[in-house]
Symmetry: C2
DNA sequence: GAGTGGTCTAGACCACCCT
DNA sequence: GGGTGGTCTAGACCACTCA
């Protein structure tokens, strides 16, 4: 019995269904009434119920199969959504002054580091950049980036001394396919000197690889200061 | 020009719009035609276009405001979805045999560790558990958990020697509110001995705090082996 | 004020897949 | 075979917010 005389929205229905699940009126693995029945009992159109149920399914609370019906997931399949921050915006939103420095810029081949073997085509020419992102003049994030010169030859003409490679890439090739990983790495040179941390210190690292039409464009490892964490609620 | 004579689905329309954005036919910050016009040009109902545009907005590609219309986000707001794994299922899906061991079980107060101050109510009685999750008899994940005995007194009666606390909690209080963090921590005792790693070794850690009706139920830190990473694509 | 997206309705057809 | 969810349609009203 959710609302009063007013018409129900799909949000009301979502909330009501969620409440029934939390109250155990609809327990784990239990099959819910069919959409038509729910629509009748809520006094609304089937499409409205459908939207509520579809969203709860996307959120991992329900499980739906044609003919089998809708049931409450016994172990809710929880998925956390993390916004992938753009470092400049991240720093500025924290009220600090963003600054950027290019530390080094060199060309190399894809076999320079063993881990690049699985990322780029063998022997492909790469641009290798080390960059530092600062918040209020203090190191905030160290960037170790490789850009494929085979896929993006125009990167050779970009200096990257004032515009960071991320912002350059977003304007050159937005909306590409991306793989993101979070991992923990012990600090090694040159991260240690740039971030001012001890060797071996545990650092939170975000690694990102970007493709465009099947070709690897860039791979980057972003190293954060000790204590950094990514957080979300659900 | 997406399909042939067949009726268009909202997926076709999504794909077509995405393609136009990638081809720069609709560049960054450009305003798209209104829903009614798109519907006319695709030869379908407005609701179908609406669903496509709504999903692209949720995915961070578009930005919509009433009256202002729909525009292409200049810097696509990317959000990555990570499934929060249940360790037993994670191990079994990798084709390994799951095993669980309770390492220690003790009662303490919320001031036992300084970091618990911000999580539990001051001085609250807690159950402190150390657990090990194994894959094929090898350590896979170390669990350092605190459970509020004020909020969950029935935890006192659970032995946790065969059923892990996560599975116990899921059956006791499913569908609660959760905050998840990913962070990097240097290994310390007792993690070092349980996972068999050197002190200071960088470990990927997932921390999770769970509430129910405003009270903190549990806080857990899950430590993974070196090299562990969480990955997703978008 | 007026144009846009947000949502609901009532009806329909179909694909899937359980029994 | 038949019941279920997935999707589309055509129309409608409303809330927001820009100019």
């Amino acid at each position: 019995m959710p609302d009063a005389n007013d018409r129900l929205t799909y949000r009301d229905i979502k909330a009501d269904i969620m409440a029934r699940i939390q109250n155990r009126r609809w327990g784990p693995d239990q099959v819910l009434p069919a959409e038509v029945e729910l629509a009748a009992s809520y006094g609304c159109a089937r499409a409205t119920v459908n939207r509520a149920l579809t969203e709860l399914t996307d959120e991992g609370i329900l499980e739906r199969r044609r003919k089998a019906g809708t049931r409450v997931r016994a172990a809710p399949l929880r998925a956390a959504r993390f916004e992938i921050p753009i470092v400049r915006r991240q720093i500025e939103e924290a009220g600090a002054v963003y600054d950027y420095r290019l530390i080094s810029r060199a060309e190399c081949r894809a076999d320079a580091e063993p881990r690049l073997g699985g990322v780029f085509a063998a022997g492909e020419p790469l641009l290798h950049l080390h960059c530092l992102h600062l918040a209020d003049d203090r190191p905030f994030q160290f960037e170790n980036r490789f850009i494929s010169l085979a896929a993006l030859p125009q990167a050779r003409d970009a200096a990257f001394d004032h515009l960071g490679p991320n912002e350059w890439l977003v304007s050159a090739v937005p909306y590409s396919e991306v793989e993101v990983s979070f991992l923990a790495l012990g600090a090694e040179a040159p991260v240690t000197t740039q971030l001012g941390v001890e060797p071996g210190q545990a650092l939170f690292c975000m690694e990102r690889t970007t493709w465009w039409e099947g070709r690897t464009l860039t791979n980057v490892r972003l190293f954060h200061l000790p204590g950094y964490r990514m957080t979300t609620r659900y």
